[in-house]
């Protein structure tokens, strides 16, 4: 064995190699930790989103009249459920609606539902039913007024409502971290109450 053959890898090389590997590891560890933090944040968001969707679905299933009656009276609206210091809970045999502060896992979410009335008026082109009976196979003779829209049922109130559910939470606990807000909007016609 010669002297040179016993010197395959020198200490300097090993040190240099370790330095290169360490330098490569630093950004990877940084990316990993960012990923873990991001996943934890996503989890709190997904929990909030799922809770908001579940709550909105429950609210939409319940008759509007029952909700308002359980809140303590009708009034002209908008009706706010679960605002600060006004917890709201209403349960039937199949559903349970809770608004206000709700604990989900280790996080506390605040759910506020606002319902407002949306007045509307249906319009369409009129036709003459008598003319329709006579000219049964020629719709052009049914007395349509093309391009003319007329209101048909008058201004309607109390039949179509806008539901806005707002979920707020802190992403690191009860009051720690930044405050997040998630908002879900839907509408409900009072079909079952007509």
């Amino acid at each position: 064995m010669s002297y040179n053959q016993r010197h395959g890898i020198t200490l300097t090389e090993i040190m240099l190699a370790l330095f290169i590997l360490s330098a490569a590891f630093i950004p990877i560890i940084a990316v990993m930790s960012t990923g873990v933090r991001g996943t934890q944040k996503d989890e709190t968001i997904l929990r909030g989103v799922q809770l908001a969707q579940k709550t909105m679905n429950t609210a939409l299933q319940l008759p509007f009249g029952d909700l308002v009656a359980n809140r303590g009276g009708a009034g002209a609206g908008p009706w706010v459920f679960g605002a600060a210091g006004q917890e709201f809970s209403y349960a039937t045999a199949s559903t349970n609606l809770r608004l206000g502060k709700v604990l989900e896992g280790t996080l506390e979410y605040t759910l506020v539902l606002e319902i407002s009335d949306i007045p509307f008026n249906f319009s369409l082109s009129v036709h003459n039913p008598m003319a329709r009976n006579i000219a049964s196979t020629t719709p052009a003779g049914w007395g349509w007024q093309a391009g003319v829209r007329v209101p048909r049922v008058g201004d309607q109130t109390g039949l179509f409502n806008r539901y806005v559910l707002t979920a707020t939470w802190f992403d690191r606990g009860l009051s720690d971290g930044s405050q997040k807000t998630y908002r879900l909007v839907s509408y409900k016609a009072r079909l079952h109450e007509l």
Binding site: H7, A17, A23, A24, F120, S123, W144
Partner: protein, 174 residues
């Protein structure tokens, strides 16, 4: 021999470093994709909540004005009317009601500020041969929601709901 071996550790370390960096890049892209998928799932449910509400309003109009709907539908598609005499104009006038267009501006921490434009796009009556006998039909209502997504792309989604309707009473049965 010794000259050939000199620098081997550095080369191996460099190869490892490149591989690790590649892993890092792949991991970052996976994270970005999963975040996009999470917001897509959320988008879909927001659109459905909005569209379902608008579809209920269309159903309400059908319940208020069933004879007008059937007249306009017959004028457009009735098999008893010769094809040359049919006109779609009156059915469109029933569907394209100004109240069937909703603009909703939603602002929160998840998607930022997004404007959703929802409207009723179709109301289709399905009649099956056996159903006609009993006056039972299906009313299909479609709502289209358009908005600008998080990557500034224009997104359009269509939500469809089908209701069973009893023509003898004109009232939909849920």
């Amino acid at each position: 021999m010794s000259i050939k071996r000199r620098g081997t550790a550095v080369v191996i370390a460099l190869i490892f470093a490149i591989l690790l960096l590649q892993m890092g890049v792949i991991y970052t892209s996976i994270l970005r994709t999963s975040k996009t998928q999470t917001s897509r799932i959320d988008e879909r449910s927001r659109v459905e909540f909005l569209a379902n509400g608008l579809i209920e309003l269309a159903l309400l109009k059908f319940r208020f004005l069933p004879s007008d709907f059937y007249a306009s539908y017959d004028a457009a598609l009735s098999p008893t009317i010769p094809a040359v005499n049919r006109s779609n104009e009156y059915l469109r006038s029933f569907i394209e009601d100004p109240v069937f267009t909703i603009k909703e501006q939603v602002e929160d921490s998840l998607l930022g500020n997004v404007e959703y434009n929802a409207q009723i796009s179709e109301m289709i009556l399905h009649t099956v041969a056996t159903g006609t006998r009993w006056g039972v039909q299906a009313l299909e209502i479609r709502a289209t929601v358009a908005f600008t997504g998080p990557d500034a792309e224009n997104v359009t989604r269509t939500v469809t709901k089908v209701y069973r309707v009893d023509r003898s009473s004109t009232a939909p049965v849920n």
